[in-house]
């Protein structure tokens, strides 16, 4: 009993809550950058240029087809080697920035496919209506197709966000103090991993369940104006 109270002291809980805050911040950052990358990726995959289409597919396949942990390690350990061999200067990678970049690129690959299928799912008649009203390709895309595509894409984007909250835990492997990392630190300090891991699970659940609750409300709101 004593050990549990000791582990769950105010300071230790604050330490974990800060870790949870970091996880959430990383997930929000990666989702945002991922949506930007995903929009670019989807535009490339839908474009008429075969080169762009190829680059878009290459991006998606590479990031979906390799483990996330490998990608994180590649950005953290591999890229500095590349940097040094090109410029001659050493690069000390910041685990938070590297983690954010790795998560963003990975998420961007999934978001590319989400947005692409969202765009393809918009009725062909919408394109034709834009065309007959004198709107060009990019105007039709911007004012007619994308707003409808984004609306369709919101539910899967929310589940992508939940995935990111969980996957941000992989960044603990490169020493970024996010939620799982703080649990491991406490576990090692008190020679008891059970309590910190259960606490971390509860905190992850609070985050993910809150997101999915607000996600469902948003979906219902969007359904009204449909």
């Amino acid at each position: 009993m004593n050990i549990i109270q000791e582990i769950l002291s105010r300071d230790n809980l604050l330490f974990m809550i800060r870790g949870a805050g970091m996880s959430l911040a990383l997930a929000i950052g990666a989702l945002t950058i991922g949506i930007i990358l995903g929009t670019m990726g989807a535009s490339a995959k839908i474009s008429k240029s075969p080169i762009l289409r190829f680059l878009g597919s290459l991006y998606v396949e590479v990031f979906r087809g390799t483990p996330m942990l490998l990608q994180i390690l590649f950005f953290f350990l591999g890229v500095p080697v590349m940097y040094q061999s090109i410029t001659g200067n050493a690069l000390r990678a910041n685990p938070y920035i590297v983690g954010l970049i790795a998560l963003s690129f990975n998420s961007g690959a999934y978001t590319t496919e989400l947005i692409r299928s969202g765009v393809m799912g918009v009725d062909k008649g919408q394109w034709e209506a834009g065309e007959t009203l004198g709107l060009n390709y990019s105007q039709t895309m911007r004012f007619i197709i994308l707003p409808q595509a984004f609306k369709r894409v919101i539910p899967p984007i929310i589940s992508e966000f939940i995935t990111l909250i969980k996957d941000s835990s992989l960044i603990s492997s490169i020493g970024a103090a996010e939620l799982l990392y703080t649990a491991q630190v406490l576990g090692a300090r008190y020679f008891n991993f059970l309590v910190p891991l259960i606490t971390a699970s509860i905190m992850y659940l609070v985050l993910t369940l809150t997101v999915s609750y607000f996600g469902r409300r948003l979906e219902r709101r969007l359904a009204i104006s449909d």
């Binding site: 007959t132 060009n136 007619i144 449909d226």
Partner: protein, 243 residues
């Protein structure tokens, strides 16, 4: 106004349009009729450039409609309005926004001006009170009237209608045909693909009967309905004019 010269269009292995020629003068109202799959919609879509025929050419005001000459192509297409069977309203925009989007974004009309024109046309189709509603709240007939108004906001010289009443419940057909009739009275040049024989008979100046991608008859509408020449059109009329 519009001249179609020997166009052909094939989808995969099916020849939808086979060497069709026709000419439409300013102020004429021409109905394209015929059985399903006769190629009438494809002809109409080719005229607007929604489909590109493999062979033949299309002239608008004596100028060749050619996708390679993109500025002129755009200018010629903008002379034509198009109304779809399934309306194709923008579901995420209000009725008024549906009307003002293209004038403002594609033609640089000010919001004030676009709104004024939009309201004017909504009034004409009797839907001004719906201007702030979303399309999903409208009935089929109302949607199609909005689609017609949307097209008119760009001041086309000719209106193309692709089965404008085919997706409607029977009690909605009338209100759409009334709007079209009103438009015809005001002298709009119109090409209408339709199954509404009553409309073709009463409003059209000419009727083109198509079958298997070919124009079988091209005649004054009164004459056509009173005395169809070909066996096929007689047969068709006997089946659709059932009362």
């Amino acid at each position: 106004m519009i001249k179609v010269d020997q166009i052909s269009k094939t989808f995969k292995d099916v020849t939808a349009v086979n060497k069709v020629s026709l000419e439409i003068k300013k102020g004429e109202i021409v109905c394209l009729i015929g059985p399903s799959g006769s190629g009438k919609s494809t002809v109409l879509r080719c005229i607007h450039g929604l489909e590109t025929p493999e062979k033949g050419s299309i002239y608008v005001n004596n100028e060749l409609l050619d996708a390679k000459n993109s500025n002129k192509y755009r200018a010629l297409r903008n002379k034509m309005g198009f109304v779809f069977q399934h309306f194709n309203l923008f579901p995420h925009k209000t009725v008024l926004e549906n009307l003002t989007l293209a004038p403002m974004q594609a033609f640089g009309v000010s919001e004030e001006e676009a709104t004024k024109t939009g309201c004017q046309y909504l009034e004409r189709v009797g839907l001004l009170d719906k201007k702030d509603e979303y399309p999903s709240t409208l009935s089929g007939g109302q949607k199609q009237r909005v689609a017609i108004a949307r097209s008119l906001c760009l001041h086309p010289e000719v209106m193309l209608f692709d089965e404008p009443t085919s997706a409607l419940d029977p009690e909605m057909v009338m209100e759409v045909l009334e709007v079209m009739k009103e438009l015809a009275k005001q002298g709009m040049t119109m090409i209408v693909v339709t199954h509404e024989m009553g409309f073709a008979r009463e409003v059209a100046s000419r009727v083109l009967f198509l079958e298997n991608g070919k124009v079988i008859e091209d005649r004054d509408s009164k004459e056509f309905f009173e005395q169809p020449k070909s066996e096929r059109s007689k047969n068709f009329l006997s089946k659709v004019m059932y009362y």
